[in-house]
């Protein structure tokens, strides 16, 4: 029977949670890289034993790790992320220009077909690629060199490139998202990029049609319908039906349309999950109730999923990379909280169980379906 491996990054190390296809019983291993911030781990779709991890601390900077045996053992690989050419400057919080400075790797996206190719989204925002299993990294500088680059401004979490989506049928097409610049698309394998933010409305921006400056928190797609994108923005849940050419709001009846993660059901492309939190100034669930909201209509109509989730005195957050789905049938949904819980739903969100309660604050959760 196939199974699931959850790769969980936390503020103080990584954890690997595994289960068989029933997803009833879980084995918990960790912490790996104890004491380090693990922003993200992700396995190669082309080789389930190949896993990449981003490891960092404020003291020692960035380290990259690679496993070739399904997250059992790890070897450090290359950690040199050098911006291409003269890095130039972007906009700082106070409106002045600030030099581009590498801080950390936020997100790893392995190639869909080649285990040795992996993309890294970094802070300050840039996209890097390795074609040798993480030993060396090269910037795809066409993104950062976009004419709007000097206008990009960090969100509260930094100027981070946090989302990378690879089109499953057209490897030349990729989507990325940057806080607080917006979403971008390439149709030529990363050589050139253009903003895809038409239709986003960010209340603080006087120019409603501004090309960049939107605090996109996360984008998700179902691989069977890759030109339909769902976005959790700073405020607003958005949808695009044309690969990002235009967006429309689908927040509908959500109690709050502020949040960080968004995920799409593995087999139902119109089933979408978000975790609303109260506001930009209060990153906690409304009313102290941890509720995942599910739309089965591609947005606008949302239902609260509460079975197994705390419905009083709950004030945790779910960060942008901390929600994931598996590929099993029925589809499983998973998320981790800043309170250290990792919740699993093997039935598409109908019911939830905490696999673990007391991990360090969870930064990321990736569900890997095992053959």
């Amino acid at each position: 029977m196939s199974g699931v491996r959850l790769l969980v990054g936390t503020r103080k190390g990584a954890f690997v949670l595994t289960s068989d296809g029933t997803r009833d019983e879980w084995n918990v291993e960790g912490p790996l890289f104890a004491g380090w911030e693990i922003y993200h781990l992700k396995a190669s779709p082309a080789d389930p034993d190949r896993v990449y991890a981003s490891q960092s601390t404020g003291w020692h900077g960035q380290v990259m790790q690679r496993s070739d045996d399904g997250a059992k053992t790890w070897e450090p690989v290359g950690n040199e992320f050098t911006y291409d050419g003269v890095p130039g400057k972007h906009q700082w919080y106070d409106g002045t220009q600030h030099p581009w400075e590498f801080a950390r790797v936020w997100h790893l996206e392995p190639s869909l077909t080649d285990p040795d190719t992996v993309f890294a989204g970094v802070e300050d925002a840039a996209l890097f690629r390795s074609v040798d299993g993480g030993q060396t990294w090269e910037e795809l500088s066409g993104l950062r060199d976009h004419p709007t680059g000097a206008q990009w401004q960090p969100g509260a979490g930094g100027l981070c490139l946090h989302t990378i989506l690879i089109h499953p049928d057209d490897p030349q097409r990729m989507f990325v998202a940057i806080s607080a610049a917006g979403a971008f698309r390439t149709d030529d394998g990363g050589e050139t990029w253009r903003p895809i933010n038409r239709g986003l409305r960010s209340g603080e921006l006087p120019d409603e049609d501004r090309e960049v400056g939107h605090c996109v928190h996360r984008i998700a797609m179902n691989p069977s319908r890759p030109d339909v994108l769902f976005m959790q923005k700073h405020w607003d849940v958005m949808r695009s039906d044309d690969a990002g050419e235009s967006w429309h709001e689908v927040s509908g009846n959500l109690p709050s349309d502020f949040g960080f993660p968004i995920a799409v059901h593995p087999h139902e492309p119109d089933t979408v999950y978000v975790v609303p939190i109260k506001s930009d100034s209060e990153h906690v669930p409304p009313d102290g109730k941890l509720r995942v909201y599910r739309s089965r209509t591609g947005g606008n109509e949302w239902e609260a999923l509460t079975d197994g989730l705390p419905q009083e005195h709950c004030y945790v957050n779910v960060l942008r990379d901390a929600m994931s789905v598996d590929d099993l049938d029925p589809g499983g949904v998973y998320f981790g909280t800043t309170g250290g819980q990792v919740y699993a739903s093997p039935d598409g969100g109908d019911s939830w169980t905490a696999i673990v309660h007391d991990l360090p604050a969870v930064l990321s959760v990736e569900a890997q379906t095992l053959p």
């Binding site: 004491g35 380090w36 601390t57 404020g58 003291w59 020692h60 900077g61 960035q62 380290v63 450090p76 950690n79 040199e80 050098t82």
Partner: protein, 98 residues
């Protein structure tokens, strides 16, 4: 031999227990000792000094013979006791964060 004491995270990363002993062919300075350290343990590149610029990371300090020598010029000779192996060169992760 130059003795180097690393902070815990770097000992784990380099997979060493206790002190590290290094042959340093040139005059022992911060720069030459760290060059030798990184040559012996490439995994430490970028974790004490930045890639490219070799600039010390902000929360790293260097001690020798009970003195904080972090801000000494990187090409100044280390104390004789360190050069003779009687005292270690300490790489310290500064108290910061949580």
């Amino acid at each position: 031999m130059i003795r180097v004491i690393l902070p815990q995270h770097l000992r784990t990363l380099a997979r060493v227990d206790g002190e590290v002993s290094l042959e340093v062919q040139e005059l022992p300075t911060q720069r030459t000792v760290l060059d030798a350290l990184e040559a012996s343990y490439p995994v430490l590149r970028g974790t004490i000094r930045d890639h490219g610029t070799a600039k010390r990371r902000d929360f790293i300090r260097f001690f020798a013979c009970g003195q904080d020598i972090t801000l000494d010029p990187v090409d100044d000779p280390l104390p004789n006791e360190v050069a003779a192996g009687a005292e270690p060169f300490r790489v310290v992760a500064a108290m910061a964060g949580g």
